[in-house]
Amino acid sequence: MDSFIMQVLINGILLGGIYVTIAVGLNVIYGVMRIINYAQGDFLMIGMYIAYWLFILLGMIPYLAIIPVAITLFGMGFLLFLYIVKPVLKLPYESQILTFVGIIFILQNFALIVWTADYRSVNIPQMRYPIVLGDLYIPLGRLLTLILSVIITLLVYFFFKNAKFGKFIIAASQDPLGAEIIGIDTSAVKAVATGLGIALAGIGGCILLPIYYVYPYVGTRLGILGFIIITLGGLGSFIGAIVGSFIIGLIESFVGTYFSSELAFAAALLLYIIILLVKPKGLFGER
């Protein structure tokens, strides 16, 4: 294959790797509670800012910041569920839109007040160091981002597959009443799932920070990308989220290379609308 096309392909995969954590996080929450966390991208933004602070104040590189950020955002998600999401869980989805749009405005404007609207980035020169494979060129930062997001996604997968608590979560989502009867505290399970989903957004923020910049509205577009990916793959489908991420990454990479980088996201949006109209339940959606 032409090495140029290979390069574009690899760029697409690297891009998709960034989206995976956002999409998987959204799907964890949707899978358990059948609600969409519209504020997922904004939690990613908060994660980015925390990682940024850790870098500026303590010199901690963002990849190491994953652990404190994940713990902080897990706590945020846990409390968010107990005090804000739980009361609206049974309500029609319009009321949930009110809650989550409220959260979006709170997070964005909180960030605007605390960190101002400036674009901030951490400067780690090593992250731009290229790894050359034949004719291919891969920046170190992007490669690390991809590797970490794959590791984290696998961890989440095996957590659900093997860990006892993961099975609790699945049980609570498949049959809440049955789960209650055999002694699972479904409310706690949902709180943990929310925490996990939001922690994943935070982790996405940490691995994105070294190769991107952060500002209060950075989450808007990434959040929309997350919605697109999970509906494309099928809501609640784990495999769908991964496949969807790489499809969107590849589209953006190809359109960005051959047409204009500005229209890359627009092309992904257009294709998404078309796919939705042809296959409304997504590629791996529930029947």
Binding site: I36, I84, P87, V88, L91, P92, Y93, E94, S95, Q96, I97, L98, T99, V101, G102, I103, I104, F105, I106, Q108, N109, F110, A111, L112, I113, A117, P216, T220, R221, I224, F227, I228, T231, L235, S260, E262, L263, F265, A266, L269, L270, Y272, I273, L276, L277, P280, K281
Partner: protein, 334 residues
Amino acid sequence: MFKISKYAIGELSVFLKRRLYQALFIAIIMLAILPILGLPPYILHVLITSFLFAYVCTAWSYISGYARQVSLGHSAFFGLGAYSVALLLYHFNISPLIGLLVGVFASMLLALAIGIPSFKIGLKGIYYIFSTIALAELLTLIFISLRTYTGGALGLALPIRRNPLYLQFESKIPYYYITLGLWLFSLVLAKKIQSSRFGYYLFAIREDEEAALACGINVFKVKLKAHILSAILTSIGGSIYAVYYLYVSPESVFGVTLSFRIATTSLFGGATSWIGPTIGAFVLTPVLEYVRITLGGKIVGVPLLIYGLLLVLIARFAPGGISEKLFKGREKVV
């Protein structure tokens, strides 16, 4: 404190249940004569934005509230209306009156283009919400990328004409009456729809689409009609916004924030009630403007932060919106 507020809400509710039309009538008469008595420009501005928001949010509720086809991308139509006016005036010196009609036409086409396929396959709930978000975001990006014509992300400042034929006036008062008129029109239309066969169809679709279909309602056609009506009215709102502010930018007229604000303002007031979106707009817009003025430019994010808090609180304590809380047990009339 809690007891007192509960008591006050109860009293207000009783009063409104009995005297809603009288109270509304008096309020409208007062609003109509207020500017003649002389109001400071700032109050006028707050009222104008409230009217405009009440109008757009009421239009949003025709499809998203009554038929529960929730759209989080209504800024697509708002933006088309605003940009039609802005582009025609800026490049060809064509009056906003014509720009407004072009915007209406463009919005109608867009509403058809998105409405026909999505209603045909019955796109609903989250899937429909995401498709509308994607559509509005797509238009934002397109208008940013066409920067030779649209000025890109910075937007366009409209040339000043000071000519009523160009819908530009020396004072704010004509805008006041235009937006007041639009708002009243949408309100009367909402009331008319709700007491018409068309409205009952919409509410039937809201409750159970398949049952509505089984009853012989042409669900597709009814939804499309409401969707187009809503899109056209929203587009007119966008056109008026453009001539009033004399400035448009993709983020301000197409952006997600505007879509979110239109949807949440309606839901805040109660999207199934004919007066709900109005209540939402008249509570939230003045709150935003008041906080903005009292805090000045010192702390930028505070107004929307408070807005967000109000949304979270309303979803927690009155998930159906204010109007549902106020008019409980009177669904037939309100």
